[in-house]
């Protein structure tokens, strides 16, 4: 049975969709059957970042409403074999996501995929709750600034109270902190929160730190997940995060970034 991972943050614009795309691609590159779902109904973006916007026929809401089946809606990535995308509907709103409908789609996906990445919309309303509700693990995407950190704190609180695991008194959702858009120079100048500061406030295990990089914007605009850009340090940092997620110590040449951060 597949694992459901939600990528969430509370605040908008911190890099949820970039992270969903990069992380899902990273897992698929390791050979795992992976699907990434866009929960941002009405503000569909994941298909752009994944570069499959011109191949969308049926979407997530169509599948929930029974207007198309799952196989019709899943888009196979052209670059990585085991990677699929389930796009959101652009013409509907978040209320189209019913708990029963989402449960049915996720159950079907769990049988076929090893990892199901849910790209959450911003906010703490229905759409965000639907994205996190069935999650087994959560990647909390946070920027090194106070409002993002506070919103992440709010989301972590909701993960432990508003999810299926909380409702059924199961093991709580496993939380991972991913700090994105990190600029070491500005941290040492004191105008950005350090990883230590963020960890002290959020008190959850750190999965990785993604440096601010022009390659992220470039990758987004050309529809290529940044993990496919071998020269990008951000892409490399995502691959390291994937390795850490899988329980390995990252071995890449460029993992020196984190080591420098922690002074190892």
């Amino acid at each position: 049975m597949g694992k459901i991972i939600v990528v969430t943050s509370g605040k908008g614009g911190v890099g949820k969709t970039t992270t969903s795309a990069a992380f899902a691609t990273g897992l698929a590159l390791r050979g795992f059957q992976t699907v990434v779902i866009d929960f941002d109904v009405g503000l569909r973006n994941l298909d752009l970042i994944m570069g499959c916007e011109r191949r969308v026929v049926y979407d997530f809401v169509n599948v929930i409403n029974g207007e198309g089946n799952l196989n019709q809606a899943l888009i196979k990535d052209k670059r990585v074999d085991s990677l699929y995308i389930l796009p959101a509907s652009q013409t509907r709103d978040k209320e189209a996501l019913s708990i029963k409908g989402v449960a049915r789609v996720l159950e079907a996906l769990k049988k076929r995929f090893e990892y199901i990445i849910c790209d959450s919309p911003a906010g703490i309303e229905h759409g965000a709750i639907m994205a996190m509700y069935f999650a087994d693990e959560a990647i909390i995407t946070t920027n090194p600034e106070v409002s993002s950190v506070r919103d992440s704190d709010r989301i972590i609180g909701m993960l432990s109270s508003k999810t299926r695991r909380a409702a059924q008194n199961l093991q709580p959702v496993k939380e991972h902190l991913l700090v994105t858009r990190y600029i070491t120079k500005r941290v040492s100048r004191g105008d950005m929160l350090s990883v230590d500061d963020i960890q002290e406030i959020l008190a959850i295990p750190l999965l990785g730190v993604i440096p601010e990089s022009p390659s992220v914007l470039q990758a987004s605009n050309s529809g290529i997940p940044v993990t496919l850009d071998e020269k990008s340090n951000a892409g490399q940092a995502y691959l390291d995060a994937v390795a850490r997620f899988l329980g390995e110590e990252p071995t890449s040449k460029k993992s020196g970034f984190l080591n420098r951060l922690f002074g190892k």
């Binding site: 506070r150 709010r154 609180g157 008190a203």
Partner: protein, 232 residues
């Protein structure tokens, strides 16, 4: 044959009415007189010509009750005693000679001196212990006893207790102790950076926190009606 034009002269029916009942807990006439005057003074109009029943349940075992005097007393204040209830046989005889009706006991023992506590066993006070961090937007309330938080309280979180609040981590949110007005309640924390601290309604906001105590382990309590923050 009786025709349809038959008109009844009278009718007797049972009826449930609301009646005033005087519950007597003491047999001392002077005490009764004194208390009665106090009560009637509050609403003299209300008691004028009102029928009243005298309940003797609480003093059924006391022989020295002077029913005659009590009835005289009630009449003096404009009340009209109509019957006694829960009287013992001796009291019933007296009541009959005074032209009062007899009502049997219908109430159970809970009518007995309602000022008396129902049982003497004190209720256990339930404290609340929270193991997880209290995150932004969450609220934890301990309605009974202390609130103990073994982790931190984030910015935007709120913790409230009727008694003390103990935070064995950083306190960055709002903490309100003694919310029921307990001025003896205190807040203890390992690392002070609260948005708001309140004891029994008296509060300080983050701006008012002394800088030298920020991030330090402190206790917060009320002294002369103002909030005191003291290093631990």
């Amino acid at each position: 044959m009786y025709s349809n034009s038959y008109k009844p002269i009278l009718e007797i029916k049972g009826n449930l009415l609301t009646l005033m009942v005087l519950h007597l807990f003491e047999s001392d006439n002077e005490q009764i007189a004194e208390e009665l005057v106090k009560k009637i003074k509050k609403a003299p109009e209300f008691f004028q010509s009102a029928p009243i029943i005298i309940d003797l349940y609480a003093i059924a075992d006391q022989a020295d009750i002077n029913l005659e005097n009590i009835i005289k007393l009630l009449k003096e204040h404009g009340l009209i005693p109509v019957a006694v209830r829960s009287a013992n046989s001796q009291q019933q005889e007296v009541a009959l000679t005074l032209n009062l009706g007899i009502l049997t006991n219908t109430k159970s023992a809970n009518q007995r001196r309602n000022s008396e506590p129902e049982d003497d066993i004190p209720k256990p006070i339930n404290s609340k212990v929270i193991q997880q961090p209290v995150r932004s937007g969450q609220q934890v309330i301990s309605l009974d006893g202390d609130l103990v938080i073994l982790s931190m309280v984030s910015h935007g979180a709120e913790v409230l207790a009727h008694k003390h609040i103990h935070v064995y981590g950083a306190l960055r949110g709002r903490a309100l102790a003694g919310v029921n007005g307990d001025i003896k309640a205190r807040i203890f924390c390992q690392q002070l950076d609260a948005e708001l601290l309140s004891i029994a309604g008296r509060y300080v906001v983050n701006d008012d926190l002394p800088n030298e105590l920020r991030g330090k382990p402190v206790q917060i309590y009320l002294e002369d009606d103002s909030v005191k923050i003291e290093a631990l």
